[in-house]
Symmetry: C2
Subunit: 354 residues, 2 copies
Amino acid sequence: MSLQELFDQTISGWMDGTGPSSDIVISSRIRLARNIEGLPLPHVLDAERAQEVIEKVERAVDDVNKRGNLGHLKMYLYKDISALERQILVEKHLVSPALGQGCPNCGAAVNKEGTVSILINEEDHLRLQCLQSGLQLEETWELCSALDDGLEEEIEYAFQEKYGYLTACPTNVGTGLRGSVMIHLPGLVMTGQVGRILNTVGQLGLAVRGFYGEGSEAAGNIFQLSNQITLGHEEEKMIENLESVTRQIFEQEQAAREALMSSAKTNMEDRVWRSYGVLTNARIVKSTEALQLLSDIRLGSELGVLPSIGTKTLNELLVIIRPAYLQWLAGSSLETEERDHMRAGIIREKLGKS
Amino acid sequence: MSLQELFDQTISGWMDGTGPSSDIVISSRIRLARNIEGLPLPHVLDAERAQEVIEKVERAVDDVNKRGNLGHLKMYLYKDISALERQILVEKHLVSPALGQGCPNCGAAVNKEGTVSILINEEDHLRLQCLQSGLQLEETWELCSALDDGLEEEIEYAFQEKYGYLTACPTNVGTGLRGSVMIHLPGLVMTGQVGRILNTVGQLGLAVRGFYGEGSEAAGNIFQLSNQITLGHEEEKMIENLESVTRQIFEQEQAAREALMSSAKTNMEDRVWRSYGVLTNARIVKSTEALQLLSDIRLGSELGVLPSIGTKTLNELLVIIRPAYLQWLAGSSLETEERDHMRAGIIREKLGKS
């Protein structure tokens, strides 16, 4: 599988809208931070030792592929691919934005479904990531745990009985686990409850971020909830906690939507139909506006106000309208204005109004 | 013809888009102010004398109807019709807003095409008005002049050799004539030229007003140009002057549109498609927003950016989305929110997207 093939496939597994509660919870993600015993951590790693990491991971991935129970992972070294290709891996949520910015000794192994990836020589030697549709943190954890076990056949992880897995950043020490969900909360935003709720979430040991993780804004009413504490808890407990909080927020979002539909039905209908009208007709659409309008029509479709729009299409649009993906689709680099024009065209096409 | 029948006919003759240059010049209007010899002017007229005016006009109108060359005029006394019905006559541009506000001794005679009306006992005893599609001031003048002659068979007008026709307000003395055109100038508004041009128009002895005459705003980029001076000029000269200035503005509007399409084509396309998207999808539309968006789609249709939308439909919408007309169509009085909702529905329906 070449990157070409990976990118041609605009729908990743996590986008397909088949997971539980995927009307509100877009995806579940588990990430495990791991380092290799006996090698310096990436920020003090020289090129030679970095190469050693890459080779060890390569062998371990080969082993995993041979066993075949986790699909097929293909490895890409960042020095071999373009900045645009790296950015697309970020936009497909396969690698984190930090790594996407380029790093000569970095690499990533990804499966063709876009649901499993291993980041190499970023903040830690390895970061395992599994991404699934809807709210299914346990299943995603099982997948990631199996990958972890598979890699451990070949790699000896840095591990101390007292602390657990050692990581570059102390916030990851212990389980090295970060679970997160992407959740669409237009109802809570519109009713003005989102601030209070996300504040409470913080007090429960969870963090709230935007669509692209740390530092990114919650564009299009999509929030990322994740556990903050990795030390002193069992993995299952952490995941249970995150899942339970997510379920509560899910219910509050549903209640907010019902309240809006009973107290301000015509206004809601007007809002989502207008957003639909703009998305299916505009010739220039900026990224932030697109995310906001897509949030409206996702809500409208789920409330039965608009004709049903597939969750798959909506999730796909979240990714393919991003700057790097647009340029990849165009086959050339594009100025902002050209991207805004192309974005508008793609949205119309995907919504069946080209 | 009852008012019911008149209002059922949502398209008046001036809306049909058949007149010359009717893509930019919506309509041409001629108004003649006349008073009856030997009777006090309306502002000092008692009920008995007002009744005398009404009877004289009634007889004159009967005569005109019998001759039949000006269609059939039907007379309505304001005391016999509701405030809503009076307001619809205003919205159909058959009577002026002042008279629409109610006056116990007032009345109006109108033809069923909605192109000829006589206002009785408003500021003057009689105000004759003829309204035609597009830029055809001379033809409209001929029509109004024929009506004037027809009425004069029965009525003796107050006239002095030195001044001409005597009127209540000195600004109308002389010919009593006011010619005006409704002109749609989105190109000049968008290119920021409209202020300068309309200022120049003022220096040429013309006045600029909004869609509903004196004191009304130029909502939806529709301006009303009219002659200011009624004294000391021949009617034909005045009309020639107004027609000539209108033609020049028409050309400047066309040039502005061409400039926009060559310098900002994508932005123009985006603007008119967005407006089309909102109008064909929104569930709540306020009056001012409707006029602005209708201006955009009229422009878009004329520029060939949008699929062609009939001028007749667009002109009809200008009238039927007004508050009184909406309530008449609904058959009941409506709160603002209900009107905004109904307006949105009617627009979608007329644009073929109900």
